[in-house]
């Protein structure tokens, strides 16, 4: 008998609460990358997605939500996007039907984990690791950016005005990123250290 494979979460800790802020793993999402083929592929892809999902794929680093609210498209480079949906939607097969002939579709569900950072002061916490400007004047709700958190490549996506951030991170680096954020969170909070004194 072959050994059975058991799914292991990318980060073994559940969630971390510091100073009213929460760092947690976002529930598993189906993720598919879309890369438009050369030539007319790009325009045709934009048309098909518009017809089927009711959104225009963004030309700039933004997130747009399908009209039915069940799927989101993130800009992921020129002519490239990431589609994200809750598990069980059958996102890849649905996209294959809609636009499989005009773009490269690859399942990325197993490649990335998603960490969610929410609560007061998370902009300051995120700014400790991410070198881009997160000021609300330039980075707001549904803005995304591919950048580095410390030395770890991430896609940062602000999902709420409050703000709340999602970090899409390569799965094998998720535990390191979780650790880095736990340090950043504790460095900012007074409560944890105060109570230790």
């Amino acid at each position: 008998m072959a050994d059975q494979l058991f799914p292991v979460p990318p980060v073994k800790y559940g969630s971390l609460r510091v100073g009213g802020m929460t760092l947690e793993q976002s529930p598993f999402a189906e993720t598919v990358s879309l890369g438009a083929f050369l030539g007319a592929g790009r325009d045709e892809l934009v048309n098909r997605i518009h017809e089927m999902f009711g959104v225009i794929l963004p030309e700039h680093p933004r997130a747009v939500h399908a009209a039915d609210g069940r799927c989101t498209f993130l800009w992921n480079g020129p002519g490239q996007w990431l589609a994200i949906a809750v598990e069980g939607l059958g996102l890849l097969s649905r996209l294959r039907e809609v636009c499989g002939d005009v773009c490269a579709l690859t399942s990325q569900s197993d490649s990335r984990a998603i960490l969610k950072l929410s609560g007061p002061n998370v902009r300051e916490v995120a700014s400790r690791l991410v070198p881009i400007d997160l000021h609300p004047r330039v980075f707001g709700k549904d803005h995304v950016a591919s950048t580095l958190a410390g030395h770890i490549p991430v896609i940062i996506w602000q999902t709420e005005d409050a703000p709340t951030y999602l970090f899409l991170v390569f799965r094998s680096l998720a535990a390191s990123l979780f650790h880095d954020f736990s340090v950043a969170l504790n460095g900012l909070s007074y409560s944890e250290t105060d109570s230790c004194v």
């Binding site: 700039h60 680093p61 992921n76 480079g77 020129p78 070198p131 881009i132 950016a145 591919s146 950048t147 580095l148 490549p153």
Partner: protein
């Protein structure tokens, strides 16, 4: 030093990798040996403006053509290498300097 990526905006140097002189062009297949030696091995070391390739590996993964002053690191221009190559192909000026 910071570069303003056409897709991502102003980003720090740590997100980019230098990928060499952007002004060299591949000679014709039947070009002289000397032309190929120039293309493969020989590079100028300009003092001042230089056109160079940078790769935005930690961002949008675009190749960029950056015009930089090698003395001051002043950046004059950042363009998508893809656009530069397509423009060149259209104007059929593939052998010379980038306009």
């Amino acid at each position: 030093m910071r570069l303003t990526c056409p897709s991502c905006g102003s980003r720090g140097l740590e997100e980019f990798t230098y990928r060499g002189d952007a002004s060299v062009r591949r000679p014709a297949a039947d070009a002289s040996e000397q032309a190929w030696v120039d293309y493969v091995y020989l590079r100028d070391n300009p003092c001042g403006r230089h056109q160079e390739l940078w790769y935005h590996g930690a961002g949008c993964r675009s190749w960029l053509v950056v015009t930089r002053d090698t003395r001051t690191h002043e950046i004059f221009d950042v363009r998508n290498a893809r656009d530069v190559a397509l423009t060149e192909r259209q104007t059929d000026a593939g052998q010379g300097e980038i306009a």
